[in-house]
């Protein structure tokens, strides 16, 4: 059997990721939100095929690009196999052979429509706006969800609530007050994709909105491909990196002597991580929180949630305003529901600067991480 580049690399990755210890119990696949709806995707199967030494071509590009690196699989695995790392290694190889762009543009073609900016992706409008709602910045996400539900674009929304302290959990919101409770950025990864799948497969929802980070938006589009009968409005957030809550809380406690569980608000601005506690603001540099950053974030190349119907973030807008990028007809229609807006122009240079920086950094880190294996 002629060994393809992929299977040669896969064999090296098997050693690195402990894949030998795979029991083939299937728990990873049973937990994975993508596998739940798309039977061709399975963290464990990727490894199993490689273990059997099949001359292994990646049958669907979704096989390695659909993974959100949410790490639910590896944390569930009784043998502690690092499935995300396995996939990231294969992505590094795909990068080297120039295949990374194809899959993303396929999804862009399928869901979005507009002009193309090489750094911030497909767009129809890019603006800085402020609503009457006081949210993280301009209250835009909350307003979009409330208005969209009012008019009947969707009957439920996957949002994230604070639970114990600042620790957060995904919920299915079904009315305006449910949505209002989800205000504010959480700075931790919460599995919205899992909740989306639950809402559709178990609760039978057919028109649903979901708010996610760039990595989650990718997963959601994969899920959407497998469930074309469901109407999904995707709101994506700008994101530079995200944290593991437990580690973040520990580090913030060490550096700022404040307990995140009791924080009123947390925000990032110009490289600073700012915590508001009992009316007072304390801050540190985001770079000081590196050890709390999630694994997948180092390799992510998407700053503005390029695959969302609407992307929302604080970069590119003045204080109290949010930047909005509409990327599809659906996104445009949803955005038009917001009346009573204060508008100004967004700083597109700032957005593009960060977007291209993140993309370069992500690709570089991926190549670096696996350079010894790629040879």
């Amino acid at each position: 059997m002629p060994a393809s580049k992929e299977s040669a690399l896969a064999k090296k990755l098997i050693v690195e990721t402990r894949a030998y210890y795979c029991l083939e119990c299937g728990k990873c696949t049973a937990r994975c939100p993508i596998s739940r709806v798309d039977s061709t995707f399975s963290p464990g199967l990727n490894v199993a095929r490689a273990l059997r030494g099949f001359d292994w071509e990646i049958k669907r590009d979704g096989g390695i690009w659909a993974c959100m690196v949410c790490e639910i699989c590896s944390s569930a695995c009784p043998s502690n196999v690092d499935y995300p790392r396995f996939i990231l290694g294969l992505r590094a190889e795909a990068l080297r052979s120039g295949r990374e762009k194809t899959h993303l543009s396929e999804l862009e073609q399928l869901f979005l429509e507009g002009e193309t900016d090489k750094d911030s992706g497909i767009y129809r409008q890019i603006k800085a706006v402020k609503t009457a709602i006081k949210g993280q910045d301009g209250g835009v996400v909350t307003s979009l969800l409330v208005e969209g539900m009012k008019i009947g674009f969707f009957d439920s929304a996957i949002v994230v609530y604070r639970q114990n302290g600042f620790q957060a959990e995904a919920v299915i919101a079904e009315n305006a007050s449910d949505i209002a409770m989800a205000k504010g950025s959480k700075y931790q990864l919460v599995s919205v994709a899992e909740k989306l799948v639950e809402a559709v497969k178990e609760k039978g929802k057919k028109r649903i909105a979901v708010v996610g980070l760039p990595c989650q938006v990718l997963g959601i589009r994969e899920i959407q491909k497998a469930m074309p009968e469901v109407e999904i409005f995707v709101i994506g957030l700008f994101c530079l990196e995200n944290f593991v809550y437990r580690l973040l809380r520990q580090r913030v406690g060490e550096l700022l002597k404040v307990d995140m569980d009791t924080a009123e608000k947390v925000n990032m601005s110009k490289g600073n991580f700012i915590v508001t506690n009992e009316g007072k603001q304390v801050s540190c540099k985001v770079s000081e929180l590196q050890e709390a950053v999630r694994t997948g974030c180092s390799f992510c190349t998407d700053f503005t949630s390029r695959l969302a119907d609407i992307s929302v973030g604080s970069v590119g807008s003045p204080d109290g305003y949010s930047t909005v990028i509409t990327r599809s007809r659906k996104g445009e229609e949803l955005f038009r529901l917001l009346t009573d807006l204060k508008e100004t122009s967004a700083d597109r240079d700032e957005i593009d600067r960060l977007a291209s920086w993140k993309e370069r950094k992500g690709f570089e880190k991926l190549k670096q991480e696996f350079s010894s294996l790629l040879g």
């Binding site: 029991l23 119990c25 299937g26 990873c28 696949t29 739940r36 039977s39 199967l45 569930a76």
Partner: protein, 428 residues
Amino acid sequence: MTENILVIGGGIAGIQASLDLADKGLNVYLVEKSPSIGGRMAQLDKTFPTNDCSICILAPKMIDCFNHPNITVYTCSDVKSVNGSAGNFKVKVLRRPRYIDEEKCTGCGDCIHACPYESPDEFNVGLGKKRSAHLYFQQAVPRVAIIDEKTCTKCGNCKIVCEAGAVDLDQKPKELELEVSAIVVATGLDVFDPSAMSEYGYGKYRNVITSIQYERLINAAGPTGGHLERISDKGRVKRLAFIQCVGSRDVKNSPYCSTVCCMFSTKSATLAREHDPDIENYIFYTEMRASGKRFQEYIDRGKTEYGIHYIRAKPGEIKENEKKDLVIWYYDRESESVKSLEVDLVVLAVSLLPSRGSVDLAKILGIDLDEDGFFKLKDKLYSPVDTNVSGIFVCGYSKRPMDITDAVIDASGASARAAEFVAAARCR
């Protein structure tokens, strides 16, 4: 050198070791931490592969042990310190108060009826209630009541009704000092608590229980009189699922295999089918491990005679619906997709761990534990019951996962080694 030997732990291994030693004419002190001897075997309904009634084959040994002229049983007791060396150990034992005089109590049960306070029952693993004055279980040996000091309000009802005058609410702990030549450790197992594995919903969903809880449910002497019913609504169980390896073969919990679970889940499924011929049983397994004599045939009969559905998959998660049924999500190998199965009750075959007191006991005795917390052997091949301390031997589950038959054999081995010490001294 005395002809006394200490056995720590009154389960089947400890009982067997004590009987072997006593029958050889040696004196045995059997120290047991709970109010009765019998251990885990007393909690089981039936034993594999024969499906014998567990207490029926255990109780005669419990009685023999307690009544044997050469055995002194100390229940509600802990070993506090051990000094000296082989041939001459000085052991301090603390006897915790029962608040009942063992010499006077006749086991009549009047105090139990008179006691007004109920609390969760430890022996029934939280499934039933006990009175503060209670018998540890129906067939407890010694048949002496015990008053739970945590829930007793000292109302005195028990004292009023007790015709034997056995209630002593001011009873104090007693310390004993024993001189023994050798020690046999037989402290058995504890059960993994799967609450931390939130994907399985134990502690959240009422109809998810552990294997030991199932034993109490199906047991005729248990809290439901042996009726297999759902915990949430006492409804009938028509679809029963077992999930293997919950905590076992898991590098984040117990990396080892607990050895007995594949067999006991098959047993539990066959018992359920015998109770109700309409029940559908599903066992979600990683491998079906059946290495003992006639064990594979037992599993095969499970398939052919009892219609058990064996599914090779480790479920990803369990969810509950409005009816409090459980929905199990798993990867189905045949269709190569993730599927769900709705059932009425889920039994988690949880990992079995060395007894929780092992860490402290190891320090007291000066013996080593291995990386999984089991008592370490001096040498697996040449001295498979010896520890690193001369004169101290170990047998049963506290040493490594094993079933009842092997625990009995192991106990005979450990007691033979302990008896050698005394025999050797006699020969000098």
